[in-house]
């Protein structure tokens, strides 16, 4: 399908119909990961390391196995194959299956508190708990390191003796540095030397958790012939199938994964934790095994995203033209390599049209739980430093913060430091919309301040499959391989309805299991509405072609003489014959006599994802005596390409902004002196609550991505990027103090106000 140039022709795309999954969710009928039970299901639980770093000397499960009701105990040494190091590109972050296997179940060493050591299946939860207490694990406790800079220092405790860093010279001794990356354009140092004004700052962020409401949950059942059923909440049923196959060395065809309804993922459900354990336990016990993490386990043992430290330098001419910029950043990977340091560097300056720029970063392991993707992985971290520095630069130049960004904005033809030349993008339009929004010029009261910050995310395409079937009565079924975490069932149904020319209500979408639909990459990177949407549109177009053929057969004219208009076959012109339009339902009713059922499945590798840009304006009021920050007003402007279902798009933007505000103000991983997480619950890991926030106003700018039939750009990642610096810049405006370290919690703000240094 060609790009729809005239959006006014659209009848379904761009409207706000009721979501297809709404009733199930509000009535509690929706089946989430923990909601399925099978006859004879056992309860599986994980024994986890109490130590931040230790060698496993021995594991003796004999007493646990002797306890009545205990059906299986699995350990890495006893039940999991040792697999070789194999890197694979997957979703938003590269994965190494050996590391993933060792994270699922520790082998030889535990690398963080909460690292899985053994798993138990028993007839009841209480028996499983008792069994875990009976497993004797002998540890040789080792020195640990939590902080990223301490992990890079000489003499730091080493996590992996065999770690060979990539992208840099071999250090000649064991190291915790897994990788160095660098992206360059022009000569950044020379550019900085040309500047009239240079700002430089060191910025720090902490690890933050995705904070999905639904903990990880799975039920697995393995038959003696190897056929395996898995029902789990994740961002990719095909991801689970692939990873379980790799970790347990099973045939992929023996594994069928049914996607549960998902209670939030945000990138954190792009990995397996429990699934291989449940499969291994079920295989051993001969019964289905269900495992559900506690919130405490979710915090301690599933991925947060990285914290990091960075130095940012930006230089500009007096007129605001940036002459050079650098960022040097080190990110926590957790216990195994794989922080989002590359995207952090690639996104750092992507909002700007710069001639001289360098972004360098290190991926560093330490004794923390292995990080997982979190919305726009890496980008919010580097953006906090860069957009704080941009604010400092605007102040130093005496320029309006938005004007400085307009002056340097990336546009069509801009070459980004990470390589590509941008095609049509909407950053200038976003900045214009922000500047002309009444929020930017609204008056402020005492102790109040306003900040602005921007953000960039690539958005991605990739493997997607979708099928469209015409039912006997002319209604339509759509199946896609993408778990619905942001409204994709609604948007697939809408795009299919648009192509077919039928009402949205006549199209019912589902998410298929791994045996029902072709391979589809996981939901992440803001790819689904673009890539799976493209597959759905193509499948619907094939159905339209077939419908035209069937009408032609009934009319006994050539298929080329049939057009498709508003859900009906019509003769293409006067010469085609004087037939009355034939509705889709009429063609469907005769399908048996014209060649059989009508339907189409399309599997593609979607190319041409359109980059997304956003600008957020934030007003705060700071209690100067207690450091309490109140978000007074918040406006998030974003180029979304084309909003298929604007309410979902606004919801994505609001949700991203809120997660970013939490990251800015109060969320953090706290460790005690033994390297154990000290705040593994929602009481002391403080995500924003509803009463903390004003209505987040989402402003949709639509600069279409012409490589998608309806102009779609991804929208889910961009909105979490600007809030960190937008809030920091607002606090600077309200207090006069620049906060360099997240979270900007009340004690830190009070200390900064008192010392004049943040």
């Amino acid at each position: 399908m060609n790009f729809v140039a005239n959006f006014s022709d659209l009848k379904v795309v761009g409207t706000r119909p009721v979501r297809p999954d709404g009733i199930d969710k509000v009535t509690g009928k929706a089946m989430f990961g923990a909601d399925l039970s099978m006859a004879g299901t056992l309860t599986g639980k994980v024994l986890r390391s109490p130590h931040a770093h230790a060698r496993i000397v021995s594991i003796d499960a004999s007493k646990a196995l002797a306890l009545p009701g205990v059906k299986a105990v699995v350990t890495a040494a006893g039940d999991f194959p040792e697999i070789s190091s194999e890197e694979a590109a997957a979703g938003e972050s590269p994965v190494n299956f050996r590391h993933m296997a060792h994270n699922v179940l520790a082998r030889d060493k535990v690398l963080y508190e909460g690292h899985a050591v053994a798993a138990v299946a028993a007839t009841t939860s209480a028996i499983a708990d008792a069994a875990m207490a009976l497993i004797d694990v002998t540890y040789e406790v080792l020195p640990f390191v939590i902080d990223v800079e301490a992990a890079m220092a000489d003499g730091a405790p080493i996590l992996h003796d065999d770690l060979v860093p990539s992208g840099m010279a071999a250090p000649g001794k064991p190291t915790n540095i897994a990788k160095r990356v660098e992206f360059k354009l022009g000569d950044a140092e020379a550019g900085l030397a040309e500047a009239d004004v240079v700002v430089e700052g060191r910025y720090e962020t902490t690890a933050v958790h995705q904070g999905y409401i639904e903990p990880h949950a799975v039920i697995a059942s393995v038959n003696p012939d190897g056929q395996t059923q898995i029902f789990a909440s994740s961002q990719g049923q095909f991801m689970i199938r692939q990873y379980v196959s790799k970790i347990l060395n099973m045939d992929i065809a023996n594994i069928r994964v049914t996607p549960a309804e998902i209670g939030g993922g945000f990138g954190g459900k792009t990995l397996v934790y429990l699934e291989p354990l449940a499969v291994a336990l079920s295989r051993k016990a001969g019964k289905p095994v269900k495992m559900v993490m506690t919130r405490d386990e979710v915090f301690r043992s599933s991925g947060p995203t990285s914290g990091g430290v960075m130095t940012v330098k930006i230089g500009a001419k007096k007129d605001g033209t940036i002459t050079g910029a650098t960022i040097d950043i080190a990110l926590q990977a957790g216990a195994f390599p794989g922080s989002p340091v590359a995207p952090a560097c690639m996104c750092a300056f992507a909002c700007y049209d710069l001639k001289n720029v360098r972004a360098s970063g290190y991926d560093v392991v330490s004794n923390r739980s292995k990080i997982a993707a979190y919305r726009a992985p890496g980008a919010p971290i580097s953006s906090f430093g860069v957009e704080s520095a941009m604010d400092e630069l605007a102040t130093k130049l005496g320029m309006d913060a938005l004007e400085l960004r307009q002056k340097n904005a990336a546009k069509a033809g801009t070459k980004a430091a990470y390589g590509p030349v941008f095609p049509e993008i909407g950053f200038e339009q976003v900045l214009d919309a922000a500047k002309s929004h009444p929020h930017w010029s609204a008056p402020l009261g005492p102790n109040q301040g306003r900040g602005v910050a921007t953000g960039f995310w690539f958005n991605i395409g990739g493997d997607s499959s979708a099928s469209v079937f015409v039912n006997e009565d002319g209604t339509i079924s759509v199946v896609s391989g993408s778990p619905d975490i942001g409204g994709s069932r609604a948007s697939m149904a809408m795009m299919a309805a648009e192509v077919l020319g039928v009402p949205y209500e006549k199209v019912r979408p589902i998410v298929g299991d791994t045996a029902q639909i072709g391979i589809t990459g996981m939901t992440g990177g803001s790819r689904v509405t673009f890539a799976t949407g493209m597959a759905t549109v193509q499948a619907a177009e094939k159905v339209v072609d077939e419908l035209k053929k069937r009408a032609a057969m009934i009319w006994d004219i050539s298929p080329e003489a049939v057009d498709w208009k508003d859900g009906e076959a019509v003769p293409a012109g006067a010469n085609a014959g004087g037939f009355d339009p034939m509705p889709l339902a009429a063609i469907a009713a005769k399908a048996g006599k014209t060649g059989g059922p009508i339907g189409s499945e399309v599997s593609i590798n979607a190319q041409g994802a359109g980059a997304g840009f956003g600008a957020h304006i934030c007003d705060v009021e700071v209690d100067q005596e207690t450091g309490h920050v109140k978000i007074l007003r918040y406006t998030a402007v974003q180029d979304v390409g084309k909003a298929i279902h604007p309410s979902y798009v606004e919801g994505q933007i609001q949700g991203g902004a809120v997660q970013g505000i939490g990251w800015a103000l109060n969320e953090e991983y706290l460790y005690d002196k033994n390297g154990r997480m000290d705040n593994s619950g929602f009481l002391d890991y403080r995500v924003p609550v509803a009463s903390d926030l004003p209505m987040i106003e989402a402003v949709l700018v639509e600069v279409p991505n012409k490589r998608h039939p309806f102009g779609v750009r991804g929208v889910g990642e961009v909105p979490i990027i600007p809030p960190l610096a937008a809030v920091a810049n607002a606090i600077k405006a309200a207090t006069g103090v620049r906060m360099h370290s997240l979270p900007m919690s009340p004690p830190k703000i009070v200390a900064a106000i008192e010392s004049g240094k943040g």
Binding site: A126, I127, A130, E625, T626, G627, H628, L665, N666, L670, D678, N679, L683, D684, R686, P688, V689, S691, D692, S745, P746, P747, V750, A751
Partner: protein, 287 residues
């Protein structure tokens, strides 16, 4: 496997008998909003839970000639919806209104909040500032104990085995007297006080403070009284407020933990004491 028994006796003697006769750990439950969380997390492993809500008198609010009598297990939501008590003790109600969430307040009680013995308990500073008295029942009969003497350390109370709180007595509020409670949390709800401060002031007709009670929470192992003599005799002018700030900071003996640093808690204690005192002063003046 460990066993857990539950009993809901209908009288004080039956409850006392159960508690006093228990072999292992026995816990009194009113709303259960702390106890059930402790059970689930494994922090508390009682063998017996005695639910006191079926005992006549444990739930309810009544006004007497001497003041107010509050059943120990009365849900805090009932306190905040009680017009008479809310008017008499707005500060106490401000405290109970901050316990947990709206849903939690449907169960959470004054006795539970007190006997959980957290230094951060939101209802306790204003109760102490009000001079509330707990009526304690147990194997040796009944005794009256000032609320200030119930909590002895984090997680510990002065109640003996078999004892529990039956009701609270709040003195009659007369003349220009009023209270207020403020707490500091990083968010706006669903949190635990980093600092809490209850203030109860009495003024004369000219607006001069004749009696003052200022109590801090979350800045020491138990709630602590601030020496408020410096504001007695004042009209809470800037000098008096500054003296109160200093006195509040001097009363602090906090720890560094995940919820706040020593420096931060100490500073904010002074800030909240000033702010709560102003609210109480304005309320008292308006009476």
């Amino acid at each position: 496997m460990p066993r857990l028994s539950y009993a809901a006796p209908a009288s004080v003697p039956d409850a006392v008998k159960l508690l006093a006769g228990a072999q292992g750990l026995a816990k009194v439950m009113s709303g259960g909003t702390d106890l059930l969380v402790q059970l689930r997390s494994g922090r508390a492993k009682p063998e017996l839970i005695v639910d006191t809500k079926k005992i006549p008198g444990m739930m309810g609010i009544r006004e007497t000639a001497d003041g107010w009598v509050i059943g120990a297990a009365t849900p805090s939501a009932e306190l905040s919806e009680h017009a008479g008590f809310s008017a008499a003790y707005p500060g106490v109600v401000e405290g109970t209104n901050l316990i947990g969430s709206t849903q939690v307040q449907g169960r959470a009680s004054l006795a539970g909040n007190l006997c959980n013995a957290s230094p951060a308990a939101d209802s306790v500073p204003a109760m102490i500032a009000a001079g509330a008295v707990a009526v304690v029942v147990g194997p040796t009969g009944q005794r009256s104990v000032p609320v200030a003497q119930i909590v002895t350390a984090p997680g510990r109370t002065s109640l003996a085995k078999g004892e529990f709180i039956f009701e609270f007595h709040f003195p009659k509020v007369s003349g220009k007297q009023a209270d207020a409670y403020l707490r500091f949390i990083p968010r706006t709800e669903m949190d635990i006080a980093v600092v809490g401060c209850g203030v109860n002031l009495t003024l004369d007709a000219a607006g001069v403070i004749t009696a003052a009670s200022v109590v801090l929470g979350a800045v020491a192992p138990t709630q602590v009284a601030v020496d408020a003599t410096s504001i007695v005799g004042s009209k809470l002018d800037d000098a008096a407020l500054a003296a109160l700030d200093t006195a509040a900071r001097a009363a602090c003996n906090p720890i560094n933990d995940k919820r706040g640093t020593i420096e931060f808690r100490t500073k904010v204690a002074g800030v909240l004491a000033r702010r709560a005192a102003k609210i109480a002063y304005d309320r008292a003046g308006a009476r």
